[in-house]
Symmetry: C2
């Protein structure tokens, strides 16, 4: 059975053809035999509500748990809400501790208890360890299924010990060397175990210089460490230095994608866990909030214009040109804001280099302000045959672009310091500033000069 | 030497203190002994030009190659441009083939030849294999450093063969089983090798059901496969089914981050490879283009307003309220656009479900249109004591939100089909539409009703 990059597409196509023909048998075979759980999850995420519903009923009870893992939180909740305790137990039976803990964290406390009660003591203890840490920390992300060895045995003993396992935990690339009190003192990579002389002791060849994760470290810090050090797995320690679990790269890939997606979704007032195929009413309700917030800022801008109704009545060209001033400021500001938000997310922007960035942005804002002010002024003069108007709009554009650069740089830094997500609220505040300053400077200058 | 999540921060702090005190020795030690190449790259990326310059001169010639790998393309180019052939040779001496090929792809042809000429025949052939594939394909991403075995030997022979290596290639989790003609027929995981009976043959225990990558598959397809199947590594085959290399998860993590960052940067007319600390003039030049494009659309909107100067002169309230109509359309449209762009990037949105999405978005646009039209109308009536004005703005908002939903859904799908990046051009086109339709519907309706 050969797989290649087009296979997922092929599976999806066959699934859609089967749905069109209502070939229930074939749908069932595709979902439960041909496709891997991640593909089934992808098919569910790519389906409108009714079709998604039908597909889900065709996913076998034992497969459901694995499929749930790959769904976004919103879609997960949709299905979890409707599963009873028995269904949950069947679905979660074969999951790894970290995956199981992920799902449990989305359930009400009573259901969590039911699932825990059904488990063997050792397994339950493991899941409870993971659940004892917040979801977005190393402890919440980790898997407790690790292989530990003692430092004083020989590699030969290790090899024989390993051979007693039927299989090793997924992505096992190292064995952890611990003391009698479970304190982590080293690691032995499987590859070294294979190439070194079996009569040597673990202590002789174990690494001691590697990344250790604090169980309470945030998942974003964990992701940065994995990216920076090209890690495949890393040990997680509690505050006493004891090994409590390990994190593998496949858990971190999701964190990396989510954190990168978070910015683009937040800037439009959306959430990275949103369901692409959420029903119309839920979508309407969610979007309404963001539109309402933006309406407030639009009214603020309008009230600024309202202050200059008299001026506009005399020179209607002002009404024609004023959106240009606001829009140029908005664009320039959002470019600066995006660069800063990304710089902060990547850890490039720190207290010690914000001053340099501010200077750079002010210069860029000023230069682009002067450049485009000249262009707009020339066009305005030609259009309305009014030199004064050209001067006023030029000055207003320079002012607005400099203010936009200033705001775009300092606002995200300030919001971050106040622990407010700059990606979510930054663009709304910025647009308010550039609209208000744009209208105020343009109409204000015009009032002073013409009246 | 213990490492924990705060260590990178600690290294950065110590580096900054050393820079402030101009403690050259300590800077050198930190960059070349204490910090790993990825941390050095992070320090360079987080530094303004002059400081970055100073730091780079302190990075040892042999470390430079590794550090270059972790830099964004813009910063890479900055340093590569100034290195002569001898420096390049020293820096690239110890790199893996895939990493070396990555760097070479950024050099002029003459420099590539010089580096290739300096290499041993076997090594050169490997790099040339990678270079023969486009940079953004599986072949361009792969590493040729694989361990292959034959199917008919026993595990015991494999174990002895492996023991002859001093070390295995990084992240080796499987051995590849090939025929005499290098055709891939299976894989043997290291973990299985450790737990199975050594007298068994490779053929008996090898897997044959796993993901194979076509060397010409796009890197985005590769990334999706890794994410979907939780892969650590995957084999790359040429068109004859021969094993030409393997891709490991650490190469894919970069692709995943870049593709997710691409959307947010493109929507602001920026590039994910942009240097956060690019100098002021380069920044100005780059931003100028985007501002120029947006100025065109702003003038288009202004020309629409210009058509109604007479109406505005009579009813200046129109000038006060018109930005609200345009702004509400822009926000609603950009929400729809963002959901669609992300849905397309994740592979959720396909020809067969666009119709459902369009329906959902039109309903949401209509409902939010009616809701906020009512609110704005009420406020307008109170503010200007004009019932007619309330009716006009309400109707204009409903029209603009419905058009925004329509455009936000169909535009990215259309652009994608024309192979134009929807993240880059989508928001400019969308804003133009919502501005023009907003002003046209509001001022047009007002002209018909009042005049």
């Amino acid at each position: 059975m050969s797989n290649d990059p087009v296979d997922t597409e092929d599976h999806m196509d066959r699934l859609h053809r089967a749905i069109d023909r209502q070939a229930t048998d074939q749908i069932w075979r595709l979902l439960n035999n041909t496709m891997v759980p991640a593909e089934v999850a992808h098919a569910l995420e790519s389906s409108p509500p009714r079709e998604r519903e039908e597909l889900w009923t065709q996913v076998g009870p034992e497969t459901q748990g694995e499929v749930l893992l790959y769904l976004s939180e919103e879609v997960q909740d949709e299905f979890l809400d409707r599963m009873d305790a028995a269904e949950l137990l069947t679905a979660t039976e074969n999951l790894d501790t970290d995956d199981l803990a992920d799902l449990l964290q989305r359930l009400p406390t009573s259901s969590i208890q039911q699932v825990l009660d059904s488990m063997e003591a050792q397994e339950r203890e493991r899941v409870e360890t993971v659940l004892s840490y917040p979801e977005d920390t190393a402890g919440g992300l980790m898997d407790t299924d690790t292989i530990t060895i003692r430092p004083n045995i020989t590699l030969d003993v290790v090899l024989r010990y390993i051979r007693r396992h039927e299989e090793l935990p997924q992505s096992t690339d190292v064995l952890w060397v611990v003391t009698r009190r479970d304190e982590l003192i080293g690691r032995l990579s499987i590859n070294k175990l294979l190439v070194c002389d079996p009569s040597m002791s673990v202590r002789e060849i174990m690494d001691t210089d590697f990344i250790r994760l604090d169980a309470l470290a945030s998942q974003n810090d964990v992701a940065q460490l994995f990216e920076r050090h090209d890690l495949i797995s890393a040990p997680v320690l509690n505050e006493r230095g004891q090994l409590v679990g390990r994190i593998t790269i496949d858990d971190v890939v999701d964190v990396i994608r989510d954190s990168a997606e978070h910015t683009v979704m937040s800037m439009a007032g959306l959430d990275e866990e949103d369901d692409t195929f959420a029903p119309a009413l839920r979508t309407t309700r969610r979007r309404a909030i963001w539109l309402g917030i933006n309406l407030l800022t639009a009214f603020l801008a309008s009230s600024v214009i309202g202050m200059f109704e008299g001026t506009i009545q005399k020179i209607t060209a002002l009404a024609v040109l004023m959106p240009i001033v606001a829009s140029m400021g908005g664009i320039a500001g959002s470019q600066t804001l995006t660069v800063l938000i990304r710089g902060i997310a990547l850890g490039h922007v720190k207290t010690n280099n914000v001053r340099w960035l501010l200077g750079r942005e002010m210069i860029a804002g000023m230069l682009n302000g002067v450049l485009w002010a000249a262009v707009v002024a020339a066009l305005a003069i030609v259009w309305f045959d009014d030199w004064m108007l050209g001067g006023v709009i030029a000055l207003a554009i320079v002012i607005n672009l400099v203010v936009a650069s200033l705001t775009g740089t300092l606002l995200p830094v300030l919001l971050k310091r106040l622990s407010i997500d700059p990606a979510l609220s930054g663009s709304v505040i910025l647009t308010t500033v550039t609209d208000v300053v744009g209208f105020l400077s343009f109409l204000g200058l015009a009032s002073v000069i013409y009246l």
